[in-house]
């Protein structure tokens, strides 16, 4: 498969992720959008490692990104649970005590 197809797939995935992040009101949905954006970068990294003389840097980077994304998701869900305990909702428009 040519590299261009993979890069275009990555770009589409990134745009979908960004769209989800910007339009959805639910915290969990926003996190799913972020996950899509990270995976778009992973596709890019793996695709571009085709041109890399060492051939591996991008793939190793993608493995690190997967690990970091898992850690971030764990922390994110913990915080969402905590917010839900206080606000009884995960709707971002209704979570707005801090203003000024």
């Amino acid at each position: 498969m040519p590299v261009e197809h993979l890069v275009i797939l990555g770009a589409i995935l990134f745009c979908i992720g960004l769209f989800v992040v910007l339009t959805r009101k639910n915290a969990i949905a926003v996190l799913i959008g972020v996950e899509l954006m990270l995976n778009a970068s992973n596709i890019n990294l793996v695709a571009f490692s085709h041109f890399d003389p060492d051939l591996l840097q991008g793939q190793v980077f993608a493995l690190f990104v997967i690990t970091v994304a898992a850690a971030e998701a764990a922390v994110a869900l913990a915080i969402v649970v905590k917010v839900y305990q206080y606000f009884q909702t995960a709707d971002l428009d209704k979570i707005s005590e801090l203003k000024g």
Partner: protein
């Protein structure tokens, strides 16, 4: 690591491993931080009651040993080195920054220790463990020269920051942590996408390598600009400058004051270092980063200062002030001269001292009144004149007026940008210069608001607790350097001038 992957035969691998084990000595400060982290974790699990003294002593000993190792590295520094298979760079800049970071971290812990029983960080080990994770992250940020390390170190700092914001009980803390997390996750995802394109353009992750520079020169302007703006955007998020500042007022207002004093200094300076390293490897004329960072600096100064005018809460006001300070820090970077680099570092070091001092005093006042709102602080200066005077000095330093070192810092930064304008004749430098100076005047109005409430308003609210002698001592220790260095700033400038900024 990457060069390890390249090696094909066994003897080559053996050499590489030998090099890595030599490089470990350069990482002694990081290892010291990790050992302290593990000790805190173990101590927290083993003991059930009265953990405060043990945890506090491990934390302070860990930072002290880190500081001693760094002093040793600073005095015995010989030459700049790329270590761990070109992932990190060991140079004077990183050692100096780590020195002031370990000092700033210790001061932050002192604020936490002075905070008394309520919401004490030392009661459970978790928050201290995460705090040491943050220290490890900022240490690595000062050394990272590889896109992988840049991403990982920023993520280490970010994830620790989200947890520290929300770890204590409270509705507002949870909300601030969620907002911080969502903004942070999106901005790091955008940065990662930019990084993946930079990797695609160049075929390497090492920003100092020749392949990276020559690869960038072959790309057309538009994709290169987009990828670089995405990458720099993620770093600017950690710097807390406009347009990636939205999280900071909420986080600063809600998080514990000791934690905020660390958030507002360490990650900011580390991000500035990363930005410095990235723009210094860019080939000249490819991408007008001076224009972009100049606009970011001007926007941060204007937005931070004007928003701070309307705040009713001291911590929220300091949040906007730190956005403005991010702009002032960028001024030295935008100048792009030797003097600009030195003045940026001077400003950064002084900003750390001033800000930690300001948060210490706010924490002391907050303990008396139960909140950091201006209304609750009415008339406190009359009841505690000594602390009131210390607040006035810190606020004058943050504004940048003599006789405090804040004046020297602003003077160096703005004279650097003026000289740079005369040499480079770039109009954005002139705009940064003029608008920056005007902003300093605006800053005066809100920085003097807190002293005004302390001394000229009368309040009926009773003081919960008498001011104690240790408060006075710590306040003096943090404020006195601001006055002394106003007269003795050449000493620090000489130290900074000895730093070699060249790659």
């Amino acid at each position: 690591m990457i060069s390890l992957l390249q090696s094909n035969n066994a003897s080559d691998l053996k050499d590489q491993l030998g090099n890595l084990s030599e490089d470990v000595w350069m990482l002694a400060p990081e290892i010291s931080v990790v050992i302290a982290l593990l000790l805190l974790l173990g101590f927290d699990l083993l003991f059930k009651k009265n953990k405060e003294i043990g945890l506090a002593s491990i934390a302070f000993c860990g930072l002290a040993s880190t500081f001693v190792i760094l002093t040793f590295q600073w005095t015995n520094f010989s030459t700049d080195l790329m270590i761990m298979g070109n992932l990190l760079r060991y140079d004077q800049l990183s050692v100096f920054l780590k020195l002031i970071f370990s000092l700033g971290g210790a001061l932050g812990l002192i604020i936490a220790a002075r905070n008394g029983e309520k919401n004490n960080l030392f009661q459970t080990g978790e928050s201290l463990v995460i705090l040491f994770g943050l220290f490890l992250g900022v240490f690595l940020m000062t050394m990272a020269t590889n896109l992988l390390m840049i991403y990982l170190s920023i993520e280490v700092v970010s994830i620790c920051s989200y947890m520290l914001t929300g770890i204590l009980k409270g509705k507002r803390k949870a909300e601030a942590a969620l907002k911080y997390l969502l903004f942070g996750a999106v901005s790091s995802a955008v940065m990662l996408y930019g990084i993946s394109w930079l990797y695609g353009f160049t075929g390497t992750l090492d920003v100092t390598s020749q392949a990276f520079i020559s690869g960038l020169s072959e790309v057309s302007v538009l994709p290169l600009t987009i990828a670089l703006i995405m990458t720099i955007g993620g770093i600017i998020f950690k710097l807390g400058a406009v347009p990636f500042h939205i999280w900071s007022p909420d986080v600063y207002q809600a998080a514990p004051t000791a934690i905020v004093s660390i958030f507002s200094t360490l990650p900011k300076l580390a991000a500035l270092t990363l930005l410095f390293r990235v723009i210094n490897v860019l080939p000249a004329g490819l991408f007008d980063w001076q224009l972009i960072l100049g606009v970011v600096a001007i926007a941060s100064m204007i937005f931070g200062n004007f928003s701070a005018l309307w705040q009713k809460d001291a911590k929220r006001m300091l949040a906007y002030s730190s956005i403005a300070h991010a702009g002032f820090l960028l001024v030295g970077l935008v100048a792009y001269t030797e003097a600009g680099n030195t003045s940026m570092l001077f400003y950064g070091a002084m900003y750390l001292v001033m800000n930690v001092g300001a948060f210490l005093l706010i924490a002391i006042l907050e303990r008396r009144t139960g909140s950091a709102a201006f209304d609750d602080m009415r008339g406190l200066g009359m009841k505690m004149p000594f602390l009131g005077i210390l607040v006035v000095i810190v606020m004058i330093a943050l504004t940048g007026l003599p006789p405090t070192v804040g004046f020297n810092a602003k003077l160096y930064v703005f004279s650097a940008i003026w000289e740079a304008y005369q040499v480079q004749n770039n109009s954005i430098l002139l705009w940064v210069f003029i608008l920056g100076l005007l902003n300093t005047v605006v800053a005066l109005f809100y920085y003097l608001k807190l002293p005004y409430y302390l001394f000229f308003k009368t309040g009926e609210k009773t003081v919960l607790e008498k001011s104690s002698i240790p408060d006075h001592i710590w306040g003096t220790i943090m404020v006195l350097p601001l006055l002394i260095w106003f007269f003795q700033s050449e000493w620090l400038m000489n130290v900074l001038n000895s730093i070699n900024f060249v790659f």
